[in-house]
């Protein structure tokens, strides 16, 4: 189950996702993220503070969004509270660099 809200103000597009970022919602997540990086803004903000869980596919889509933003020469930042232990564990277990999204998180 995924909910997404995209808003653009002052040159910054913000996408708020809520629910799960998983195999079941992968297509919806991809579409929502595509809408974000396709927005006519200078910077993108991804608000994940209401995301309940993500799996490896969900994380992979975040990297995909990051690569898309970078290839468009734009900045993507992620807003989120401290990572839940199980999400943190998933990053650690898969050996993926989490700092690119969650600096200090």
């Amino acid at each position: 189950m995924l909910q997404s809200t995209l808003e653009a103000t002052d040159g910054t597009a913000t996408l708020e996702l809520a629910g799960d970022l998983s195999f079941e919602t992968a297509c919806e997540v991809r579409d929502a993220l595509s809408a974000l990086v396709g927005a006519d803004s200078d910077a993108f903000v991804l608000d994940l503070s209401r995301v309940e869980s993500f799996d490896l596919l969900g994380v992979q889509l975040l990297f995909s969004a990051l690569h898309s933003a970078r290839s468009a020469g734009k900045n993507l930042s992620v807003a989120m509270g401290p990572l839940e232990p199980r999400m943190e564990k998933m990053f650690t277990f898969a050996g993926l660099p989490r700092d690119v999204f969650f600096q200090g998180g």
């Binding site: 799996d55 490896l56 992979q60 277990f93 898969a94 050996g95």
Partner: protein
């Protein structure tokens, strides 16, 4: 020149240690069937024996071991429940494996006995054939390999899951989890290949993993993890470190070499980057040959392997090594000879009145003493190794005799010279066998006497002075002292007109051919054994005594010196001959003229107590030696004090005790000899015997 032993001999030696482990695990399991660790312990022992046996192509040994190992694997995996038959078969197999080691793998008799055991195991659990590698099928699945005690190897695994991994249910994280169960795992996920949103298949897998795994479970176990994805995924597994690599490899590979080895860059690209005289990682990234993630991954590998090697080097430096006992024996003997040589040097220095040599000899003394203590210490092993071996004996004997007997032990941490421990095995075996056979009553009789149905034989060890006391206590019926006296009288061993102490009567048990049992059992009761027990213990410089309490049980107490290697004693002379008294027994030395003698000189008043005296001049038949100032040495043993009269006291002396040989082994009051620095022999006094002699005299 160093001569290395036969690898098969090494295998036999290690296999015997593992069989001992197996036996302990089985007996422990029998006592506590809920002790799962013992199932693992039994499995590990069998698995290792099987694996090594395979290397030497010992087919019959391997086949038998495999059968029992399979049963324990099933037990461990919860496929079958613990059954007394399995314990019995495990113990039978243990004995057969030992027999195979002893007699060879092709003994027809053993092979047929092994077939019987295998058939019996098959009735409990079906057995898959053993694989030649000893690690593939049946119990040697990856899970079972968990118990393999092989050397740790570090693998670099490059794993690129198939694009449709998630769609086919092959979640890479589950495989990583499975790998993690094999050992220490470092995973570096690389999202570099994840495409942009307009290119991505949202359900596809684009992340690749660089994995470092350190495990002792072998390559097969690692490959098995990927068995269901190997056709679609890209997997490469390389060994990058193992314990056979030496300290010279401590630094591991350089960053560039790792990247080339991983296939991230070519040799030419490496050369080009190196020529830029920048930090290599930066140069490679800047040149676009590799990504930042690839460099980080290679650096992580470098750091991880270096850490492993540092850890191994530190570990090796601080851990113990195995040394063959015969080498250790040689070392102790050499130190013993060195001690004797030092004593000769001291004597020579004094004879020549050479002050320089005397100072040198004195300086050497501390060194010699430290070396002696260290070499003796290296030879010490806890008595637990001896005691544990008797658990099987008591278990089997109880079964054979239809009795219920429990073996308990305390003081198992007490350490003794390995050679003393080896020599104590047979005497203790006789004593324990007698305790179970004659001491412990059948369960019904025990119950009728208000005792627990289960009898107890307790082994207890503790330090006492320069020796160790080992007690074998049973809570059985005790010994009938009167019956022993009658039997001894009927065999003319005791004089019917004489009055004897209980100790003297009980001492008859140690005489050759003495038995109070009318019917000999298959276990004991032929009167063969207890005389051998005493002889063996006395040959070790020890003593054995009995205490008994009718209806409550008996205690056989063995006193044994800590070491046979080097003993420190006090030299004394009688009639110009040298005698040596173990320093550990000596309380004080006094001038005979200064003590108050009583009862025809047989007693002295020593600090307010009457202490019996053995005049060694008389005891050894010297008569009047003409000594002008005879001395008395007060010795103590088990709370008894006696005085030993000699002509003169000399110096303390450390030496190796030599056996007197067959001819003089029964010489009373003497337990060995030492050779002094100038080649003169000195007789080593048997203080225990002298204490017993004087005690009997006093009681009369």
């Amino acid at each position: 020149m160093e001569v290395h032993g036969d690898p098969l001999d090494t295998f036999r030696e290690e296999a015997r240690e593992l069989l001992s482990e197996l036996e302990q695990a089985l007996i422990q399991l029998e006592e506590d069937p809920t002790d799962v660790e013992q199932v693992h312990r039994a499995f590990r022992s069998l698995h290792t024996i099987k694996g090594s046996g395979n290397m030497f192509e010992l087919e019959n040994l391997v086949s038998l071991t495999h059968a029992v190992e399979s049963a324990f694997a099933s037990l461990r995996d919860g496929k079958i429940s613990l059954d007394q038959r399995l314990i019995d078969l495990g113990l039978k197999a243990r004995d057969l494996i030992e027999a195979f080691l002893q007699e060879g793998d092709d003994s027809t008799l053993l092979v047929s006995q092994a077939e019987e055991v295998k058939a019996a195991v098959c009735e409990i659990v079906p057995i898959q054939p053993a694989s030649s590698s000893g690690s593939a099928s049946g119990p040697s699945s990856p899970a079972a390999d968990a118990d393999r005690g092989g050397a740790a190897t570090t693998y670099r695994i490059l794993f690129e899951p198939a694009l449709d991994s998630f769609k086919t249910g092959a979640n890479p994280l589950l495989l990583l989890k499975e790998l993690g169960e094999l050992g220490e795992l470092i995973t570096i996920g690389s999202p570099q290949a994840v495409p942009t949103l307009d290119q991505i298949d949202p359900e596809g897998c684009y992340i690749r993993f660089d994995i470092l795994l350190t495990t002792d479970r072998g390559l097969e176990a690692v490959r098995d993890v990927f068995i269901f994805v190997e056709d679609e995924a890209k997997i490469s597994i390389d060994v990058i470190d193992d314990t056979s690599l030496t300290d010279a490899d401590l630094n591991y590979k350089r960053l560039g070499d790792i990247l080339v080895e991983r296939g991230d860059i070519s040799g030419a690209e490496l050369d080009a980057a190196v020529s830029r005289r920048e930090f290599l990682g930066e140069a490679l990234v800047r040149s676009g040959y590799v990504t930042r993630e690839q460099v980080d991954s290679a650096l992580a590998e470098q750091e991880y392997v270096r850490g492993l090697r540092r850890q191994r080097q530190t570990g090796e430096a601080s851990s113990s090594i195995k040394v063959k006992t015969d080498k250790l024996d040689s070392l102790v003997n050499l130190v013993g000879e060195f001690v004797s040589m030092h004593a000769s040097l001291t004597t020579l220095a004094e004879t020549r009145h050479d002050e320089d040599m005397r100072v040198l000899a004195e300086q050497m003394e501390n060194l010699v003493r430290e070396m002696r203590d260290l070499s003796i210490d290296m030879h010490m092993v806890p008595i637990e190794v001896l005691f544990m071996g008797f658990r099987r004996l008591v278990r089997d004997l109880s079964g054979d005799l239809g009795k219920s007997v429990r073996l308990t032990m305390s003081g198992t941490e007490t350490e003794l010279d390995k050679n003393v421990i080896d020599a104590l095995k047979d005497p203790l075996l006789h004593i324990i066998r007698n305790a179970v056979d004659h001491g412990i009553e059948p369960a019904d009789r025990r119950e009728a006497a208000g005792k627990p149905r289960e009898g107890t034989v307790h082994l207890h060890a503790f330090y006492a002075g320069a020796g160790v006391v080992i007690e074998v206590q049973d809570d059985g019926q005790g010994m009938n002292v009167e019956r022993i006296r009658e039997k001894a009288v009927s065999r003319n061993l005791l004089d019917p007109a004489e009055t004897y102490s209980e100790e003297e009567i009980l001492d008859c048990i140690f005489l050759p051919g003495f038995s109070t049992t009318d019917t000999a059992t298959s276990v004991s009761g032929r009167g063969v054994g207890m005389d051998v027990v005493r002889r063996n213990i006395e040959q070790l410089g020890g003593s054995v005594r009995i205490e008994t309490s009718p209806g409550s049980g008996s205690t056989i107490r063995i006193r044994i010196p800590l070491t046979l290697a080097i003993v420190e004693g006090l030299l004394a002379t009688i009639g110009g001959d040298y005698f040596m008294v173990n320093l550990a027994y000596i309380v004080e030395c006094l001038e005979l003229a200064a003590v108050n003698r009583k009862s025809d000189n047989r007693l002295i008043d020593y600090r307010g107590h009457l202490v019996p005296v053995v005049d060694l001049r008389e005891y050894f038949g010297y008569g009047d030696t003409g000594a002008t100032n005879p001395q008395i040495i007060i010795v103590a043993l088990d709370g008894d004090r006696i005085g030993l009269v000699v002509d003169q006291l000399q110096d303390n002396y450390q030496s190796v005790i030599k056996s007197l040989g067959k001819v003089y082994e029964r010489a009373e009051g003497i337990s060995g000899a030492v050779i002094l620095g100038d080649g003169t022999p000195a007789l080593f006094l048997d203080v225990d015997k002298l204490v017993r002699v004087s005690r009997a005299e006093v009681q009369r």
